[in-house]
């Protein structure tokens, strides 16, 4: 009885969480006229996708490449920077205050609304002639996701047994060797977890991208927002673009959901 009740409650909730996505998917395959007439049943049309990918004025394919390029590079930077720092801060003998200051400031930075910094980044990028450049966007995305990367990787780093590290030290391994030969392979699940979450957050990011990019380097979310903001909202293309932008999140949810659960927990409960 409770079981039936539980499943029906969860079923209703699933419906509530899926409804908006189902609805946007249905809009993506409709003609503008059917959307405006609120026709629930209408011929399936691929026009929106054709306009999105094949029309001359659309930059959508390019936006996808931008998003992938910026996402992969910034994720790589975060993983390298955070795994190195996390190893030294949690596994080596180092003055306590170094860790306190670094973790403390990273936590504060994590809590502060990013917009407070983005203005300053904008001025910095402009002064260096880097506005609308990939490097500025990659570095900015990496910085925004740095706290999450550090927290997730540190969470995994702490789980590696002390015995393994002691054995390495007894065998005369340098820190360099301990990190690359022993910790890095053991840390792979942690790097994977941090990697997918950071890539997703970079792919999803809007606030940094809208303020530091122009047409040539704009990412998918910026592009979707543009469709919504034109004088005459192009609902069909907006829906189609939205649907495409959901793909990485959907794939990772299906194939890596356990890692994501772990990552979200590790990244917030300190």
């Amino acid at each position: 009885m409770t079981r039936l009740l539980s499943h029906s409650l969860l079923g209703i909730l699933s419906f509530i969480f899926l409804l908006p996505f189902g609805w946007i998917a249905s809009l993506a395959f409709k003609r503008q006229i059917d959307i405006l007439m609120t026709n629930i049943i209408s011929p399936i049309s691929y026009g929106n996708f054709i306009k999105l990918f094949a029309s001359k004025e659309s930059t959508f394919s390019n936006d996808i490449l931008n998003s992938l390029f910026i996402g992969l590079n910034s994720t790589f930077i975060v993983l390298v920077v955070c795994s190195l720092a996390s190893f030294t801060l949690t596994r080596l003998k180092i003055e306590k205050w170094v860790g306190i200051i670094i973790f403390g400031w990273v936590l504060v930075f994590h809590m502060i609304p990013p917009i407070t910094f983005i203005g300053s980044w904008f001025v910095l990028a402009n002064s260096l002639g880097l506005f609308n450049s990939y490097s500025a966007l990659i570095i900015a995305h990496a910085t925004i996701n740095l706290p999450l990367g550090l927290f997730i990787i540190t969470n995994y780093m702490k789980e590696i047994p002390d015995e393994i590290q002691e054995a390495a030290v007894i065998d005369g391994a340098s820190n360099y060797q301990t990190y690359f030969k022993i910790f890095l392979p053991l840390l792979l699940p942690g790097l994977f977890t941090a990697g997918i979450i950071i890539f997703l957050f970079s792919w999803n990011d809007f606030m940094v991208s809208i303020n530091l990019s122009a047409k040539a380097t704009q990412t998918v979310p910026v592009s979707v927002a543009t469709y919504a903001q034109q004088y005459e909202v192009r609902y069909g293309e907006m829906a189609a673009g939205s649907l495409v932008s959901l793909i990485p999140g959907l794939l990772l949810t299906i194939f890596a959901n356990r890692y994501i659960v772990r990552g979200i927990t590790a990244g917030s409960v300190k």
């Binding site: 969860l10 509530i16 005369g172 820190n175 360099y176």
Partner: protein
């Protein structure tokens, strides 16, 4: 060999921390200092930035600014309401999920909102809230209810944003709470079973006290994170109508990027930073106090 490895160790600490520290220095510390500096200037752009010292003028302007103070008020109100409702719903969902064997399937569905682009979620909800051909008004028309101006009416718009945020972020708390419940040692719950507790008693007497620390952390964390809300506001209401849905992040964005008022924007950023740090400090105090009480 022995000597060489000790030799590299001497540089290891510095070299391994350098990338993180350099990134933090150039992208967070320098910008912070530059924000503080800029907040005392009037900045104009003509091929290069021109700075003109104005003392505390930006901070006086900020108080009189149409958007900033209402934005702060709205944000705090918004954060309080959404966090309380989210945690309550998440608690119920987590308790129910705990009884389900293949809960990862439900959990995967529930976590979609946090993993998909917020701007897309904004665009979807904007379409659903649409006055003429949005989904909600379409469904209401079947019930014979007059269409509601979800985003255009000052009183309703704020509620619409709150509904969206609850839908968007409840799953986050669900994940934290279900993980906490999964972490409860099995023998504690089994002992309860032998004593003959039922579903509700178990939830109330056994699970709730044990996950209280997580409930507190999740609430406080979400409260602070609510100050980041931006994407949905940007797409749905742009802070309007009037200042009904104005939030801190959006006021700063408008001042800095739309009105190009870099000095005032910096002053707003600095003020917000101080506010957040004060709140974090208070939150930490509250956290310690609540945890002490939870243990009594």
């Amino acid at each position: 060999m022995e000597n060489r490895s000790r030799e590299t160790d001497r540089y290891w600490n510095v070299l391994s921390l350098a990338p993180l520290c350099l990134l933090l220095f150039f992208l967070t510390i320098i910008p912070l200092l530059s924000l503080i500096y800029t907040s005392f200037f009037k900045v104009t752009w003509s091929g290069g930035y021109l700075y003109e010292g104005v003392g505390f003028q930006n901070f006086f302007d900020l108080v009189e600014n149409k958007f900033y103070i209402p934005g702060v008020k709205n944000t705090i109100q918004f954060a309080l309401i959404t966090v309380i409702i989210q945690i309550l719903i998440a608690y119920v969902i987590a308790i129910v999920l705990n009884k389900i064997k293949y809960r990862i399937i439900y959990l995967s569905i529930f976590m979609l909102p946090i993993l998909l682009p917020p701007i897309v979620i904004g665009s979807i909800w904007r379409l659903m809230y649409g006055f003429d051909f949005g989904l909600f008004n379409y469904l209401l028309s079947y019930l014979g209810i007059m269409p509601i101006d979800w985003l255009g009416d000052a009183k309703i718009a704020f509620i619409s944003i709150i509904i969206l945020d609850i839908w968007h972020w409840t799953p986050f708390s669900v994940i934290l709470l279900i993980t906490a419940i999964e972490g409860i040692p099995k023998d504690i719950l089994e002992a309860g079973l032998i004593d003959g507790t039922n579903f509700l008693k178990e939830a109330y007497y056994l699970i709730t006290p044990l996950i209280m620390p997580t409930i507190i952390v999740a609430s406080l964390f979400r409260f602070i994170m609510s100050f980041k809300v931006f994407d949905e506001i940007y797409l749905l209401t742009q802070g309007g109508p009037g200042t009904a849905t104005e939030v801190v992040s959006f006021s700063i964005y408008e001042t800095y990027f739309e009105s190009d008022n870099i000095g005032l924007g910096s002053a707003m950023s600095v003020t917000t930073l101080i506010l957040i740090i004060l709140i974090m400090y208070a939150v930490q105090k509250i956290y310690i106090k609540l945890r002490l009480n939870a243990h009594d």
